[in-house]
Amino acid sequence: MLHTQVLKSRLCWRAFRSHKEQLKNYYQALLPLLDKPLNQVPMVAVDLEMTGLDAAFDQILSIGLVPIRDGQLVLAQAQHKLVKIDGSVGQSATIHGILDNHLKQALTPEAAMEWFLEATLGKVLVAHHAPLDLAFLQNGLTSLLGEKVSLIAIDTLAVERKRLLRQHEVLKEGSLRLGACRDRYHLPIYAAHNALIDALACGELLLAQVASISGTEQVKAAELIG
């Protein structure tokens, strides 16, 4: 309960302080979702591919979004955008498979952030290891809007860590990776590695986690937001 109140007042404060109508709307649209049971909350699973892991100077290469409505992933509205970068993808291509010539048709970082804000309006973000993705997104939005942006999200990694610790399991190295978490719920192995598939994989993991946590009482959105 207290946690929900803190989250709410933080969102209100951000909306109040913001000078951009777009951002005010974004924060306010999240407010009514926080006390709702999770299966009634519109969400969107998100995953990014980046040129590296440091939000201070690495760049976003692609963004995958899969909306979750009524507790189900809606593939018809799944989207995948490539983002233009300064310079070359360099060595990171070996991880995400995105090559420089793929990026010719890509969105500019500004256009990508505009699109992201619109596509996720009124939806709670879901990501695996969310702090990393949020850091990149916040940087992108901040440079687009010219004011500090801070996002909230459900982090499936944090949810899993909490659940395992509650079962008194010893956390082994690698046991919180997306694949390892999915394996625990007998979710299929997805070989492909791109932002859209990882967003889908993360969304499915959340559904599985919710199914295993909820049992009798229903989980509220705010309880899972870190």
Binding site: L75, A78, Y185, P188, S212
Partner: protein, 615 residues
């Protein structure tokens, strides 16, 4: 969006009938139309929205479809569908879908579903057929029987011709003529007394110059060899060729229910195992026997790939071993001469229980009619050495525990065997019992049955209701538990770093064998085959019907898993083992396997309560 964007989903559907018949573009459109849901066991049933029927495609997990009345209609796992009947019929949803294992499910909306049906005939036909099949309530989760045609009951003539024992042979012959059959069963006091065949009329009446007023009991074959109606056709063939007869009365609960003739069987089939046994019986030296026995692994693989019941596979393979053993004894007797006294060749353990599988070793012994003199000792030494060596060369390796007839320790007279069994029965030391338990699964493969019967009767007499001995046997069988840990997770055997998997033999079937043995010995049941023991225990109300059926099913299921695992190993050129890796199983099978082990666990608790009183 390029076509490969939802690759994991399109790839899955592309391997799934009937989606594999769709064009790549249609498939991609179909993927795009899906929504993905996850159903956890805690909600018990999949919430089916009556207003919005859709096709459910199971990606992972296990589900059970039940009718309104709770009857099981179908069990579903990866790649199965539900929800299509109401999509096709337009009727409201009446079935319920229970969640056995948490799972990921794809939903396809009715519009796209109907579009796909109108675009692809194969797609449409597939679901119409599935619908028709569902209407017939066909359950697909049972292992196929070798085919109902393989039971005696399916080939025998149902209403056997019978005549009273005091009738004359003329009356019998008239009856046979009118019914156009070649045999008649002779009944005395509602029980089968004998059988009269064309051959008897010829050999015992006409050829002897006797007249038609001769009573049938003077011409009939008394106390003929019989079989039960659920015996395998193959067993009937075996009996006929052993005894050189062409008619077998079929008896259920002491009542004649039919007759099966060699012609019935010939009409029925030509069977590979029987050909193999026939071939064994035609060989005249060891080398040719060895080359014939090379076919045994192939026979096993054929039976596995035909999805035969594990119990039947065990019986078929054991019959081959029995035939091979008998042939080896006879061949060596041709060299060594007549035996100086009657003897029985005893089979213990898996051969005794008739559940041999791949790579069985030999467990055997010799039962002698009386004390041996010097000549007899030399004779049986030579005979058993030759037979055991022959079995070893034919693929049945020497017993590592040296429980073999070639070991003088296991060549004993009736008296000595009885004394041996008494030491186990009277002073049931757990350690001694561990090694002795296989001796209690004994069967006579060669030799006079009355000699063997006197040993078995004597043993059962001493074990029946013998609380101390039974407590020892039960405690011994409780030392190993089925591989289920806390929270019903599988406990896997490890060999250092390598995960070996679940030991289906020692943690599964062996435990059920132990349980059935304890009960059978407590009740003085002669049968040693585990499935038959359980059936008899049920019929005598020693185990209640539900538990007995569950235990028999669990035995069959685990044995089936073990055999199909070995079939997989065989086709992939891996060494055959009893270890199953659970990660290779679909969740549905994993669920069933867990259920089977749960049954074993419960049955162990049952014998613990019944036989070992822990104060």
């Amino acid at each position: 969006m390029d076509a490969s964007e939802l690759q994991p989903i399109s790839h899955f559907l592309n391997q799934l009938t009937p989606f594999d018949s769709l064009s790549p573009a249609t498939l991609e459109r179909c993927c795009r139309a899906l929504t993905v849901g996850y159903y956890g066991k805690s909600s018990v049933y999949v919430p089916l929205d009556e207003a919005h029927p859709q096709l459910y495609i199971v990606r992972s997990g296990a589900f059970e479809v039940r009718s309104e009345d709770g009857d099981l209609i179908d069990r579903l796992g990866d790649g199965d569908f539900f929800g299509f009947p109401s999509l096709l019929s337009g009727d409201k949803v009446s079935n319920r879908v229970q969640i056995l294992e948490d799972g990921l499910v794809y939903h396809l909306d009715p519009n796209t579903f109907n579009q796909l049906r109108s675009e692809s005939r194969e797609f449409d036909r597939f679901f119409n057929r599935a619908f028709a099949k569902r209407l017939r309530h066909q359950s697909r989760f049972k292992a196929k029987e070798l085919g109902s045609t393989n039971r005696v009951s399916s080939l025998m003539s149902k209403h056997p011709l019978t005549i009273d024992i005091n009738a004359t042979v003329t009356e019998a012959a008239k009856l046979m003529r009118d019914a156009r059959v070649s045999s008649v069963l002779i009944i005395d006091n509602q029980k089968l007394a004998g059988i009269l065949t064309d051959r008897d009329l010829r050999n015992r009446v006409l050829a002897e110059g006797l007249d038609g007023l001769l009573p049938v009991h003077q011409a009939m074959t008394c106390a003929p060899t019989t079989l039960a109606s659920n015996a395998l056709v193959f067993e009937a063939m075996l009996l006929m060729s052993q005894h050189n007869i062409h008619h077998l009365p079929i008896i259920d609960e002491q009542q004649p229910v039919g007759v099966i003739t060699s012609t019935d069987i010939l009409r029925g089939q030509s069977s590979q195992p029987l050909l193999l046994i026939g071939e064994i019986e035609r060989q005249h030296d060891l080398d040719s026997l060895i080359s014939v026995s090379k076919q045994i692994p192939l026979l096993l693989q054929n039976l596995i790939s035909a999805d035969a019941r594990a119990e039947e596979i065990g019986r078929v393979l054991t019959s081959v071993t029995d035939a091979l053993t008998r042939r080896l004894i006879l061949l060596n007797q041709q060299i060594l001469g007549e035996a100086p006294m009657p003897f029985c060749w005893l089979a213990f353990g898996s051969q005794g229980r008739q559940d041999q599988a791949a790579c069985s070793d030999q467990d055997n012994g010799l039962l002698l009619a009386h004390e041996m003199d010097e000549y007899a000792e030399g004779y049986f030494e030579a005979l058993t050495k030759a037979v055991c060596a022959g079995l070893d060369k034919c693929g049945y390796v020497y017993c590592p525990g040296d429980i073999m007839a070639q070991n003088p320790q296991w060549r004993m007279t009736l008296k000595q065997w009885q004394t041996k069994f008494d030491t186990w029965v009277v002073r049931p030391e757990p350690k001694a019992l561990m090694h002795a338990s296989i001796f209690f699964d004994m069967r006579c493969v060669f030799g006079p049955t009355n000699l063997f019967d006197s040993l078995q009767d004597n043993v059962l007499e001493s074990t029946k209701d013998n609380d101390i001995f039974l407590a020892g046997m039960a405690a011994n069988s409780l030392q190993v538990s089925p591989p289920l840990g806390f929270f019903k997770k599988f406990v896997l055997e490890r060999d250092g770093q390598e995960v070996k998997g679940i030991d289906l033999k020692h943690k599964g079937n062996a435990l059920i064998n132990d349980i059935a043995r304890v009960y059978a010995l407590s009740a003085g049941i002669k049968e040693v085959n585990t499935a038959k023991r359980i059936r008899l225990l049920m019929e005598q109300n020693i185990i209640n019907r539900k538990d007995a059926l569950n235990l028999a099913d669990a035995h069959e299921f685990i044995a089936h898993m073990r055999l199909s695992n070995q079939g997989y190993q065989f086709t992939h050129n891996e060494p055959l083992s009893n270890f199953l890796k659970p990660q290779n199983l679909s969740s549905l099978v994993r669920h069933q396997l867990r259920d089977a082990f749960k049954v074993v666990h419960d049955a162990q608790a049952g014998i613990k309560l019944k036989f070992t009183r822990s104060f």
